[in-house]
């Protein structure tokens, strides 16, 4: 395996390919550390700054960010906080907490209310609860009283018959219609059963917005409404054909016919419920977390995040992703598994990991924890010194790669147990241990798997050379590995939603006890009975027309118009039409001659009344002109 590693370090993608892949990844806008000179770095991320240099062609804005100094206490700590909550911005995102120097996330706290305020709050709360309880109790009491007063029908059919007899509400609930259909069929009333089953179908289609039910619409109208849904239209047409054969034809409804209709109606009528159930199931499964993610949120784009590393490895053909599946199921893993800070490994899990390595797996330990290093016989030391370079030490002297990471930890390796991989001066930074058919690679920390490492020295090149030739897929394991719930119940419990869900269920039970299956009274909206004013006017007009009194109505309007005009222009001593025309012309700016013609025609309409009872087209034009004139001189009234 060591030989293989040596070959690997010399093989793999060329430096140019690695360089271009790094540049492509870091050029993405989401990696703001490379594009914003004032990007806030955390204290522990500042350790990279001596390694970046004065300029960086891969990550141009990073040197400026380094010059600005630390803006956050700890990038990793922030990442851990947001990582566990699964939301929020990253350590150095600069949004929200990004510009804060506080160590802890900020929580919004309600201001403390004084004694009076608290009293008012409790009073309002109490009154609200009392009102709800009173409303429910009142409804229960009214319901009980009604039961005593009158013997109400109990079965759906009795309810329907009573409603029909009283001209009451029409059943619109799909489930109840289907239940009614089944009840009618069980009773042997197949005609009714077919009707109800068909009504259920129509109500469902109406509810889905596919058709519009109206008393004046025929079955053909409903089928035509479905013209854009050819398959559904064909199914509905087939049902309609059978239903109409019973309703209007000579076919006697039978059990077979009902079963045939019902078998076709039920899936269509219940498909929305089925779709909802399916959607809920899918969402539930999704809420339980998948096997892997490529990114877990904006914080993954920060210098301490992993997304750029994952993108980079993917660019070069290595399938890299975060592992969400618990490490208990390590047996299903294919490729390398990288343990990063935050991952929880107990004795039981470690023995599974060991077995997996023995079977040929590659385990990379980069947690920076002495406990895990000790399990493979290595000792981890903290230095706290300034950042230094770690040079790749291979048996081939031609290897010129230089891996640069902040100098925080180093390993001590017993002579016979492991081969040092990377060395910093005389201190090993990485080690390679062959174990069974597989191997364990230990790194002193996780710096090589941070986004910012791509911008520094040959870190990216080294990483891809190690991983590419050994395994073609890499799973990164951290605090989120195994953290996703395995079923909806766990999800609800972890979200602390159990009390809320319990209250909702209780509320549903109360409603169910009060109203039955349906919460709302099923009824069609009442048609508007109030008529518009224009309809009244039209009705009066029709009455005039029926009485052949159109001419009379016209002359009345002409007289009304002349009176209103005189009133509006406040005609003083000038009484004649010419005076009126002059005054109106002054007010409206219209031609006096034209107005005179109009007024004379209006005046003469009274005289014509006696001679002719017919209203001509010219009369209607005159009427409209007078109406317009009235509007110009001050409105229609």
């Amino acid at each position: 395996m060591t030989q293989l590693l040596v070959v690997a370090l010399l093989a793999g993608p060329s430096p140019d390919q690695v360089e271009s892949a790094v540049r492509r990844v870091l050029a993405k806008e989401q990696y703001r550390l490379c594009h914003e000179g004032d990007y806030p770095l955390a204290e522990d991320e500042m350790g990279w700054c001596p390694l970046v240099g004065a300029t960086s062609s891969r990550c141009p804005a990073l040197p400026s960010a380094c010059k600005a100094g630390p803006q956050l206490a700890s990038g990793k700590k922030w990442r851990a906080v947001f990582g566990r909550s699964g939301s929020g911005s990253g350590s150095g995102s600069g949004s929200g907490s990004g510009s804060s120097s506080e160590d802890e996330p900020r929580f919004i706290r309600l201001p403390m209310l004084g004694g009076l305020g608290q009293l008012l709050l409790w009073l309002i709360l109490g009154a609200g609860i009392a009102a709800v309880v009173y409303a429910i109790a009142k409804n229960f009491m009214r319901s009980a009283r009604r039961s005593d007063d009158e013997l109400e029908p109990e079965t759906p059919d009795q309810i329907a018959a009573a409603a029909k007899a009283a001209g009451g509400p029409i059943e619109t609930d799909v489930e109840r219609l289907l239940a009614r259909a089944r009840a009618a069929a069980a009773r042997g009333d197949y005609a009714r059963a077919v009707d109800d089953a068909y009504a259920a179908l129509l109500r469902r289609l109406d509810g889905d917005g596919l058709i519009r039910i109206h008393p004046a619409r025929t079955n053909g109208d409903y089928v035509r409404d479905l013209r854009e849904r050819a398959e559904l239209r064909g199914q509905v047409r087939g049902i309609v054909r059978d239903v109409e054969r019973v309703q209007f034809g000579a076919q006697t409804p039978s059990s077979e016919l009902f079963e045939s209709v019902f078998a076709r109606v039920a899936p269509l009528a219940q498909r929305t419920l089925a779709a909802l159930a399916l959607g809920f199931a899918v969402l539930s499964v999704l809420s339980c977390g998948g096997a892997a993610w490529k990114s877990r949120g904006p914080w993954d784009d920060t210098p301490s995040g992993r997304r750029a590393v994952i993108d980079f490895l993917n660019e070069l053909g290595i399938k890299a992703q975060h592992r969400l599946t618990p490490l208990d199921r390590i047996g299903e893993a294919e490729g390398a598994v990288v343990l990063l800070p935050g991952v929880r490994v107990d004795d039981k899990l470690w023995s599974r990991l060991s077995r997996w390595v023995d079977d040929g797996g590659l385990l990379v330990i980069a947690t920076g924890e002495p406990r895990l290093a000790k399990r493979v016989g290595l000792t981890l030391h903290e230095t706290g010194a300034a950042a230094q370079e770690a040079r790749v030490e291979t048996k081939d002297a031609s290897a010129q790669s230089v891996v640069a990471v902040p100098d925080r930890r180093w390993l001590s390796i017993p002579a016979s147990e492991a081969d040092p991989l990377l060395a910093r001066g005389g201190s090993p930074y990485g080690a390679w241990i062959e174990k069974g058919k597989g191997a364990v690679m230990v790194l002193a920390d996780d710096y090589l798997f941070e986004n910012i490492a791509l911008a520094v020295a040959d870190d990216a090149d080294y990483l891809v050379r190690v991983l590419k030739q050994i395994e073609h897929s890499v799973e990164l394991c951290d605090e989120m590995t195994g953290a996703s719930p395995t079923n909806p119940v766990t999800s609800v419990a972890r979200g602390k939603l159990a009390p809320l869900m319990g209250q909702l269920l209780l509320l549903l039970l109360i409603f169910f006890a009060f109203k039955g299956v349906a919460f709302g009274a099923p009824r069609d909206p009442r048609p508007a009975s109030r008529r518009a004013f224009v309809e009244h006017v039209r009705a009066v007009g029709i009455q005039y027309a029926k009485a052949h009194a159109k001419r009379h109505a016209f002359t009345l309007y002409a007289a009304y118009a002349l009176d209103r005009l005189r009133e509006r222009v406040q005609l003083g001593g000038r009484r004649g039409l010419s005076g009126l025309a002059e005054a109106v012309a002054q007010k409206t700016g219209r031609s006096e001659t034209e107005l005179m013609r109009l007024l004379v025609e209006a005046q003469s309409s009274r005289d014509v009344m006696a001679s002719s009872g017919v209203v001509s087209q010219e009369d209607l034009s005159l009427l409209r002109e007078l109406a317009l004139l009235l509007k110009e001189t001050g409105g229609a009234r």
């Binding site: 109206h214 025929t218 053909g220 109409e244 309703q247 209007f248 034809g249 000579a250 027309a545």
Partner: protein, 322 residues
């Protein structure tokens, strides 16, 4: 003959006529429905939409004797019905039957003849007989009239009186074809179709005249449920109370609607009428049987608007919504 056989023949007729008259399926269907419901059809449309072609194609596929009268202002009633002419050899009056003595009569541009001549068709259309000089002569069976009129040119025309209009089972409005249909018409012509030489087009005779009569008799077996009768009555009654209609449809309209709906049902292979039949046929049956208020006409309301409004309000029997 049962309704399935009726439907099969009906569809074949429709398909055969459709070969000659492209893109007017609804018109063809309404015309055939009218024929089998023992009714007459008034086709209204501007020239060039294929009215005459439709009637000539009908004559060929139905195997019925076909005659055409071009109505003109100087056309006399006897030019339609025929009349007694003195035969000097026999020294007696002899009846010479007019063109109305046929099975399929095309009354082209019927509104160009005066009312007196138009009325000559009244008895023929209603009683299917002609009375001349006190002698009544039966017309051959089947007998149906297809009249055409142009709604645009009103100069020198005589609008059909209400009594005459009421005799027509359907008034069918023929509109301009869509661009795609018009292109198909052009393609047909490129392939050699000539409307003036229809005989050479090779339209098949689908039924014979006696089969038409048999098909008409089949409609008696089509069931009409009581709710359907209520629906027809309701629709026709609403035309009499509609605010824009001065004169509503007559009971003859109800009968026509009933007969047409049975033909429509049979054409689809059903032995029962459904509300959709009534709804689909109502505009064609009622539009020429109502007279609008002048006010409504001034407002631009058409009979079709009124009938649409009525159909939107008339309650359908056995609906799930009530």
């Amino acid at each position: 003959m049962n309704v399935q056989e009726f439907s099969m023949r009906f569809q074949r007729l429709r398909g055969e006529i459709g070969r000659a008259l492209v893109g007017q399926e609804e018109i063809v269907e309404h015309t055939l429905v009218a024929i089998f419901a023992r009714g007459h059809v008034l086709l209204e449309g501007v020239p060039g939409l294929g009215k005459t072609l439709l009637v000539r194609a009908l004559g060929q596929v139905l195997g019925c004797a076909f005659k055409r009268i071009q109505f003109t202002p100087d056309l006399m009633p006897s030019d339609v019905t025929g009349g007694n002419v003195f035969n000097q050899k026999k020294d007696a009056f002899e009846f010479f039957p007019g063109p109305v003595f046929t099975q399929l009569l095309l009354a082209d541009e019927i509104n160009r003849a005066p009312a007196k001549t138009q009325s000559a068709l009244l008895e023929a259309m209603q009683e299917r007989s002609v009375t001349a000089d006190g002698v009544t002569r039966l017309l051959p069976r089947p007998f149906f009239v297809i009249a055409t009129q142009n709604p645009v040119e009103s100069q020198g025309t005589y609008p059909l009186p209400e009594a005459q209009l009421d005799r027509f089972l359907f008034k069918v409005n023929i509109r301009h074809p869509s661009p795609s249909i018009e292109k198909m018409i052009l393609v047909n012509h490129l392939r050699g179709f000539d409307a003036t030489a229809l005989e050479q087009f090779g339209l098949q005779r689908v039924v014979a005249a006696d089969e038409v009569v048999a098909m008409q008799s089949t409609l008696d077996s089509v069931r009409v449920e009581d709710g359907i009768l209520d629906y027809i009555t309701d629709i026709v009654a609403r035309t009499r109370t509609h605010r824009s209609i001065y004169l509503g449809a007559s009971p003859r309209a109800s009968i026509a609607l009933l007969a047409a709906s049975r033909a429509q049902a049979a054409s689809e292979g059903r032995d029962f009428v459904v509300p959709d039949d009534i709804k689909a046929l109502s505009p064609g049956v009622l539009r020429h049987r109502v007279i609008l208020h002048p006010d409504a006409e001034i407002e631009g309301i058409s009979p079709d608007d009124c009938i649409d409004g009525i159909l939107r309000e008339a309650k359908v029997p056995k609906t799930a919504a009530a």
